[in-house]
Symmetry: C2
Subunit: 328 residues, 2 copies
């Protein structure tokens, strides 16, 4: 099942059921918002699956053309958002290039608490104040969970995954290096996060959702040119393992969003990267200095994943970075 | 105006207007939840102020006795929660005792992104898995904001403060020292946060809400014995300054909660502390080793602030720490 949220001017938007080929959509019956669905999944999911089947079979009359420019993030805001950094290859490249040492004595999965009140849709211009902030992107997938209690095992945790989404974890690297030294996590380094047009139930990925990982390529292009296509199968921690770590002493509530971390593969010389910071680190390793620029105003980024049938799974994040119109 | 949220079994509870002396309450007219109020403040605030005046004047008939054991956190969940650490005195004591050095080259206010999906009420038992996690508390106040755009000044930011709340920022110190070294912020170190019974509009503090600070004592007792009463006036950054820092490159949405950090005063030998970690650090400075235990299961903590008239402002957080009933 594929779901989206129409931007109707409200804070939570209007839930849509979207056809598998992303061509058409229809307003969800019986439930208005994604958050309401997530809080009452077993009540609403069967009816929506039926609506989805009818939409795919062309049995519904009052359908809309699905336009990614008219949707918000599938879940426009949430009460808890945590981003993992589950591809250790990414961290290894960064440490090697910049002589960093992350002190992680008991090999904890790295996860970062994030804000959930201002998610951005897939085609919105993304404003930031200054190019000197060293703007960057990170191509990721995220899971959206049902209620998940303290103390779950990784296997139990995976059974709580209701939806998968595509995201661009926008990052401001000039602040990241300062904030990581400070030790209290990221604020200015990680402003609002951008999500792909539709959220999908795990069955939409078929065999490519297994071992708590998405075994598909993250296709990233910058200004229309290939930037990378690393695969999600190389996550060193599964989503289940990340969730279980987090649930050691907390409950997670329906609608919790957990990101994978930027996709990163060992064979980066073949598949490229999903963020500029890693590409710049590879520049340093290969040439002694970074040769890849951070984001300039006006640049356009695109992220998309395709299934084995060549069909776009989530639709594309396709957006421009622009100068913020603020007073300071 | 004082507001609370009745625990009616729903995720967001039922908004109550509470009398100034905290003796009586009545269901809010026209608006069901705190989040709805915050998203439509100017629509609902005048009516609630009228209801509050009538309640205080004994003009309402169908009132309830106000029982803090029956309320949730005033805002039971939010889409963004950030905790400051705005009393530099606290950090200085910690650095002195444990030979820590926080690398903060440009004197940024320290702020920590936190989870907002599982706030706890003032009298709920607080379960945690193991005493070896070194359980601790932190007595704080927090502000709840209206929509606040990217780029605000500190003065504009303060004008967005709609409510003040009392909180216990529960902390697990065994994880905190590991996570601060890792550099990505707190997860296991900072599980669910506990809030006092009522939220109040700033005018309830009179002259004691000024310069973006609460100039009142945080009275903390442990198992019925005085632990500390540091004053909130010694915040080194005002709430306005903290918000402006955060808004450099992000918008904040209505319902955003921002904590002060644990209260801490220079004359700690006179007023004590609002957390165990600081008291243990003072032990180290004074005696060479910590003499104060972290939390044991069964311990009871109480936090309360009083106005100049001796009236409890927020009611008390009064709760027990207990062993979590989880499988692992």
């Amino acid at each position: 099942m594929k779901l989206a949220t129409l931007n109707d001017g409200s804070r939570d938007g209007r839930l849509l059921v979207v056809s598998r080929d992303l061509s058409h959509a229809v307003k969800a019956q019986g439930v208005n918002t994604m958050q309401q669905l997530l809080e009452n999944w077993s009540d609403f999911e069967p009816g929506l699956q039926q609506q989805y089947a009818q939409l795919n079979n062309g049995e519904l009359s009052e359908t809309l053309f699905f336009d990614p420019a008219q949707v918000m993030a599938p879940l426009p805001r949430t009460h808890q958002f945590v981003d993992g950094s589950a591809f250790l290859n990414h961290g290894n490249i960064m440490e090697q290039a910049f002589n960093l040492t992350i002190k992680n004595e008991d090999n904890r999965p790295i996860m970062i608490q994030r804000q959930g009140d201002d998610f951005r849709g897939p085609c919105e211009d993304y404003p930031f104040p200054s190019e000197a902030d060293n703007g960057d992107f990170e191509g990721e997938v995220a899971v959206i969970l049902d209620d998940t209690p303290m103390g779950v095992t990784p296997a139990e945790a995976e059974s709580k995954v209701r939806l998968l989404v595509l995201m661009n974890d926008v990052s401001m690297r000039a602040h990241l290096f300062k904030e990581i030294q400070l030790g209290f996590g990221f604020l200015l380094a990680k402003p609002a996060t951008v999500f792909g047009p539709v959220a999908v139930t795990p069955d939409e990925l078929g065999e490519d959702w297994k071992e708590g990982r998405v075994h598909l390529d993250m296709n990233v292009s910058r200004n229309g040119e290939w930037f990378g296509n690393p695969n999600g199968g190389e996550m060193d921690f599964s989503f289940g393992e990340l969730i279980a770590h987090l649930c050691y002493n907390r409950n997670l509530r329906a609608g919790m969003v957990l990101g994978s971390g930027t996709f990163s593969n060992e064979k980066y010389n073949k598949v490229g990267s999903a963020c500029l910071a890693e590409r710049r680190a590879i520049d340093v390793i290969e040439c002694g200095e970074p040769k890849t620029d951070f984001l300039h105003f006006g640049e356009r980024l695109r992220f998309e994943m395709f299934g084995r049938d060549g069909q776009s799974i989530f639709g594309a994040i396709d957006h421009r970075f622009v100068q913020a119109d603020t007073k300071r």
